[in-house]
Symmetry: none
């Protein structure tokens, strides 16, 4: 912990506070206290609260995408690949709920346009990242020819909604149960194929 650079200490503290309190409720004073630096040092490294926030989100999401990418570097059959994508996403979402919660919940919280754009970019990178995986599956014939971008957004929406509930409400569903439900819905849908004739 002692050998973190000041920037890293600040980013770590900011992540903690922003995710606990949200953008507007987080105070620069508290971030400085937690990071054990003077308030001026925050401004020395990041020109404004907005910039610090954007840095926090970008940093966190990049780490998540890198981790998922690494985990997907394998020759698994697509279906296993797909399941792995889901379980990795969920696991990382819950692990980093601090970051993901921010970028889900704070988009409308009055950030300045420049910062907002920065954060939307990183969100879109995540959607593109998922879109690519879906595209591969579709090209190989595993997935229906649905709009990939919408599908990716839907997929992320499911994950966010369930994980958010898990985080906010302390629902009593296990992570396994959540993964299985999401996988079931996304793979073959809610409808019972035996009963429903197409």
């Amino acid at each position: 912990m002692q050998n973190l650079t000041k920037q890293q200490k600040i980013l770590k503290a900011a992540t903690k506070i922003f995710s606990e309190k949200g953008f507007h409720q987080a105070k620069m004073d508290e971030i400085a206290n937690v990071a054990k630096v003077a308030k001026g040092t925050l401004y020395y490294n990041y020109s404004s609260k907005s910039k610090l926030f954007a840095a926090t989100v970008t940093d966190g999401m990049k780490k998540i995408m890198q981790t998922i990418s690494k985990e997907l570097e394998s020759d698994l059959p697509f279906l296993d690949h797909f399941r792995l994508l889901l379980s990795s996403s969920i696991r990382l979402y819950l692990k980093h709920s601090e970051v993901t919660k921010i970028y889900v919940n704070e988009l409308s919280s009055g950030l300045d346009p420049e910062t907002l754009t920065e954060i939307k970019q990183i969100r879109n990178q995540f959607i593109d990242f998922v879109t690519n995986i879906l595209q591969t599956g579709q090209e190989r014939g595993y997935l229906k020819p649905l709009n990939q971008h919408l599908s990716a957004t839907a997929l992320i929406g499911i994950i966010e909604s369930l994980c958010n509930n898990q985080v906010n409400e302390t629902d009593d569903h296990s992570m396994e149960e959540i993964i299985e439900t999401i996988f079931a819905i996304l793979s073959t849908g809610l409808l019972n194929p035996v009963k429903v004739q197409f």
Copy 2:
């Protein structure tokens, strides 16, 4: 417009401003201006900004649920019922994006606990509302025996995620396209049944 009660005028203005700016960025001054009442009148009717916010969300969600309920009072076959649930939800979600956006995005924005609880209650009512519909479908054999609560949460998550994107990003997807994608995913999933053998 002139024959709205003052409470209604306030609620209408508050809905507009809260959804445009989010909770913390919305200013009581501006709400008062838009409602064309004095700032004191806001406080005469709602004891605090938080209470006004909660009233706004509760009011909006109740209207949405009432509308969906009414639209579902029919003898359609379940599948049509299900499709109607989706399209109604989506249509209303987009129509009332002002309200839905706030209740999705502001849960972590530092509301006082009491108000937070009030808003979570109305969200849970919506989840319960969807859960009930899914339960019916399941009892009649149309839906797989998945956990209904998780399924309902997932369903709402998909809707929120796609609609939020639609609202925030002005994606170029039509409402029809969104409805079809959601319906496809939720009914038979993403996987291609021809290729994937179970």
Copy 3:
């Protein structure tokens, strides 16, 4: 209780609230509630909060002076008279601590000059009232030829100080003890005549 006039109901409620909260902490809303009249009625009867406050104090002090006067209408020897004055004052002070506390504590609380003058007048009437009694005693040779006005002010100061402490701090001194101490101090002083040679 039902056959009080509205003015009386208001005065009673105002006395209660002013004495419990002080002038600035007392709210017209609360006084109206306690009096069970509409807020407008307060203003119909008293043109401002200050005026209502002055009416409250004046009314209360007049009642106290009338009562003491009546109790002193007797042919007791002066010393008994003096003791009676003290015990009556203390008893009434404690009984009406609601009123007396106000006029002691609120003189500097930012009342408008006109109202302030009105309240000072009634305080001075009380001092004059006591001054008169002291004058009688002095004329008859019972009291030392001290400045009567200063003596009266001192006497009232002792009573106020001890009674205030009694009211505020719930000191564990009985009313008897307080009366005896005051009487002792005021009659023959603190000094021990045996030891001190004049």
Copy 4:
């Protein structure tokens, strides 16, 4: 004046304004103006108006007690000691009437409980301080065996009442006259020993 610390400048300005206007009528804006600091600086140094008020009173009373203590560090006979206590108290009371007035008059003005307790403590310290002096006199046989705490309270009450009157009313009594009257009353009482036989 220029080499006062900012805290001292604030305390000085606060003392002035609080005593002129009382707690509720004093405005933080005005205190900041008088102290020639920004309003935020007030809050940077004292977390609330109440805290600033308490600091003002505590600071002032401590200075008064220190001064009296120093003046009483002498080998005077008790009677002179006693007279010195009175004259010092009165002189300081009048000199610091700014402070003493507030702590006498604002106890019921709706301060928050914590602050109220803080101020009552310092008042009790002053009573204890006087009680100690009376105790010494009593042990040495100079004073009657009256309850010391009540006596001290009475003594302070006399001083406060007369000085308050002096300050508020600009009575035309000289300080000498006030000291002599108080000394006379407290030493041998109001009663004329020649006439009254015990």
